[in-house]
Symmetry: C2
Subunit: 222 residues, 2 copies
DNA sequence: CCCGCCCGCATCCGCTCGCGGCAGCCGCCC
DNA sequence: GGGCGGCTGCCGCGAGCGGATGCGGGCGGG
């Protein structure tokens, strides 16, 4: 435990979040603690990585949802450039399955934005001292979620077929796309049905969507 | 324009947002301005309405996504109890179509959380003086989005058929469910394809999902 | 009043789909 | 080495699907 105060050099913090309000909230929280010094703010992943390179912060507070791409990518980049940097990942949704991704990307801690501001500071404190340490609870939960249910495993071929089915392709079309005979395409489709417990295209697509095996069409809301 | 400063009595502000970080950011922003005084914070819609009744704030900052229901409901309730209260609606997503809903519910302003903190304060200032005034830009955009594209209109029967298709039902099954002949079911399906520009079930389902005509299966994320 | 739309029903036709069965190839594990 | 499971590939069959077209009734707006 680094319980001893650090009078000379304070822990440098970089805030990466596209919401100005959140950044200001974080800054407010950190500035109340004399251990920390907020050395920069960034609203995008790219800007965050750039500033991290320039400012060499001890801890980065990283939002996962950023306008120019995933905060996971940025986290990966940061971890690659520095193994000792503390990276606290913030996420909007508490039950986010991206926890697992954050772990893989090399985050040091994972805090939902619903948590009180103090908790972010506490996580940052912890991350500054032991940057590669998720809490046991975090790990346990992530593992439980990933390993237990793990829907049906699709072969590469089946995944391709699934995506083509989602495009409304016919058997003939799929066969052409994959350079195989129609019979083969049909076999793949049948296997797909079997694994998904579906009896036809419609059920297969809906089930695949439900299991996250297929990218949701995600309307532009108009 | 109430440009004159208010030395005696300051504008009372109530913050309603389930994220502590955001609340702290807002509080920070408002406390820098001597016109305002943050008189309360609430993390839920119910608590927000309760505090609004007790504290009688001049302006309420209201998040739309709250744990115990929509901020829209709370906004409606507040507006019902007081026509003169300023209500600034905050939302996470800039292009949120809930802008329209916020307008209907009686909000005074609409600010995305990506906006700089100052803008929220500015909106609150504006809302305090003219609580029922959306900006022209807000209105124009909401109208444009609502009236212009408005995807294909499905008849009630077609919507039913669409939902049954999503369940993987066959023509015969659909006919039985709807107590009509198979011919009729087929007719509806054909009409559906026509309206959705689809040639088969798969395309119809994906298009319907993309247009928001069909509830996404939305996995429990494990 | 007529026109357009939604609903319901029907027939014909050709094509596609989904199913069952079969088999070669590869990697893994005993 | 031999067995086994998964991926890939192929065939034929019957049922279901999609397209085109026609008919009628009810309801609402120009």
């Amino acid at each position: 435990m680094t319980t001893s105060p650090m009078p000379a050099t304070r822990t440098k913090v970089l805030l990466v979040d596209d919401h100005d309000l959140i950044r200001k909230g974080l800054r407010h929280a950190f500035e109340r603690d004399r251990q920390f010094e907020v050395v920069g703010e960034a609203a995008t992943a790219a800007e965050g990585v750039r500033q991290a390179g320039a400012l060499q912060p001890d801890v980065v507070i990283m939002d996962l949802r950023l306008p120019d791409g995933s905060g996971l990518e940025a986290t990966r980049a940061l971890r690659k450039s520095s193994a000792s940097m503390g990276i606290v990942v913030l996420t909007m949704y508490a039950g986010d399955d991206q926890l697992f991704g954050a772990l893989e990307a090399g985050a040091s801690a994972f805090v939902p934005k619903t948590a009180p501001a103090d908790e972010v500071v506490a996580a940052a404190r912890h991350a500054a001292s032991s940057p590669s340490a998720f809490t046991a609870a975090d790990l346990a939960e992530a593992m439980k979620r990933r390993l237990a249910p793990s829907g049906p495993q699709l072969s590469p071929r089946e995944s391709q077929v699934l995506r083509l089915l989602a495009d409304g392709m016919s058997v003939a079309g799929i066969a052409k796309q994959l350079f195989v005979s129609e019979s083969t395409a049909k076999t793949h489709i049948s296997k797909l049905y079997e694994k998904l417990g579906a009896a036809n295209r419609a059920q297969a697509l809906m089930t695949a969507l439900r299991l996250g095996l297929l990218e949701a069409p995600d309307a532009p809301k108009f």
